[in-house]
Symmetry: C3
Subunit: 137 residues, 3 copies
């Protein structure tokens, strides 16, 4: 019985240790042309060096385009490949809903795994105030 | 009397609750051409979604120009309109004084409601260390 | 003896006070052409206004070029001058090692005082989570 308690305590410490040591960071993409490709590479490099990092990418304005179905980068390659690889590693991609409204875009245009946030800038703020670092690629 | 004390306590809690829940964020504008218009729109959208947010815009280098009297955006529209609308909603606009010195600009050039800070980058740093989130539009 | 203890306590308080009041900030440079010159000026202005600030410049991607031996800005002036002036004032310049690998660059290409970090974006994150403000010039 004592042994079990000790085991439980050790497990709890390990779990809280992992939670404590997990770095959280939000990437801010506001232009697909100049930022998306470099941003996705940075996120991948980030996870290669720190695989436990919790990464959210918030896309605003012209920065949402790389998350549309069939979007291609300036070299003509699909964004779908690198995006889905990062989704598979736990990265979240959130699209600003004010942008959708202002640019008259429908959710159907976007890849299935995209998530949505009422306002990209409010989200960037709230995540930072919750302890996320901020990177603008 | 007890009733009054209770009332005072409840008021104090409410006030501190509001202060606690108010998000603070600093926007960094360093180029009028590429950032000011998008930045002002983002600030407006920010307040539309989170009306209690406390927002400071720090303008540095070529980013101070949109706060000059008579400044126009690339579409030929006055910056005065959107800036004064945001001032009316509590946004503060702060101009870097080192920029004024380096570019030999006088305060008379700027709109009356502009505020001034000795160094834009020091201000960006101090606000973040005081709990402000940071957004570079 | 009591006097000495008092002195020690006062010293300790002063030292911790200095440490407490020292602002820390990381500058993120990811493009030499558009950011390096303005970034170095900002760092200099930062220290002119707040001489005790602890400043780290993290260079990533095309942002590492200004730290190469013999690098020149768009006006044809050497970057070496302003960089070494800032090194003398305690600024640290850190080059992303993933960038070196991806661009097949060797450390010998860089100025002697450059430092290295395994991943620029992980470093930007960790510094912020350690209490550094973030500025993207």
């Amino acid at each position: 019985m004592k042994c079990f308690r000790l085991f439980a305590v050790v497990c709890a410490l390990l779990v809280s240790g992992v939670a404590w040591s997990q770095d959280k960071v939000v990437y801010h993409i506001s232009e697909t042309d100049s930022q998306a490709l470099a941003g996705l590479r940075s996120v991948r490099n980030h996870l290669d060096t720190d695989p436990t990092a919790k990464i959210v990418v918030v896309a605003i304005g012209n920065g949402v385009d790389f998350l549309m179905e069939g979007a291609k980068d300036k070299n003509g390659s699909d964004f779908a490949g690198p995006v889905s690889a990062l989704l598979g590693r736990g990265v979240r991609f959130e699209v600003c809903e004010i942008t959708l409204k202002l640019r008259d875009l429908q959710r159907e245009k976007f890849i299935l795994d995209a998530e949505y946030t009422p306002s990209g800038v409010v989200r960037l703020t709230k995540l930072q105030l919750q302890g996320y670092a901020y990177i603008r690629p």
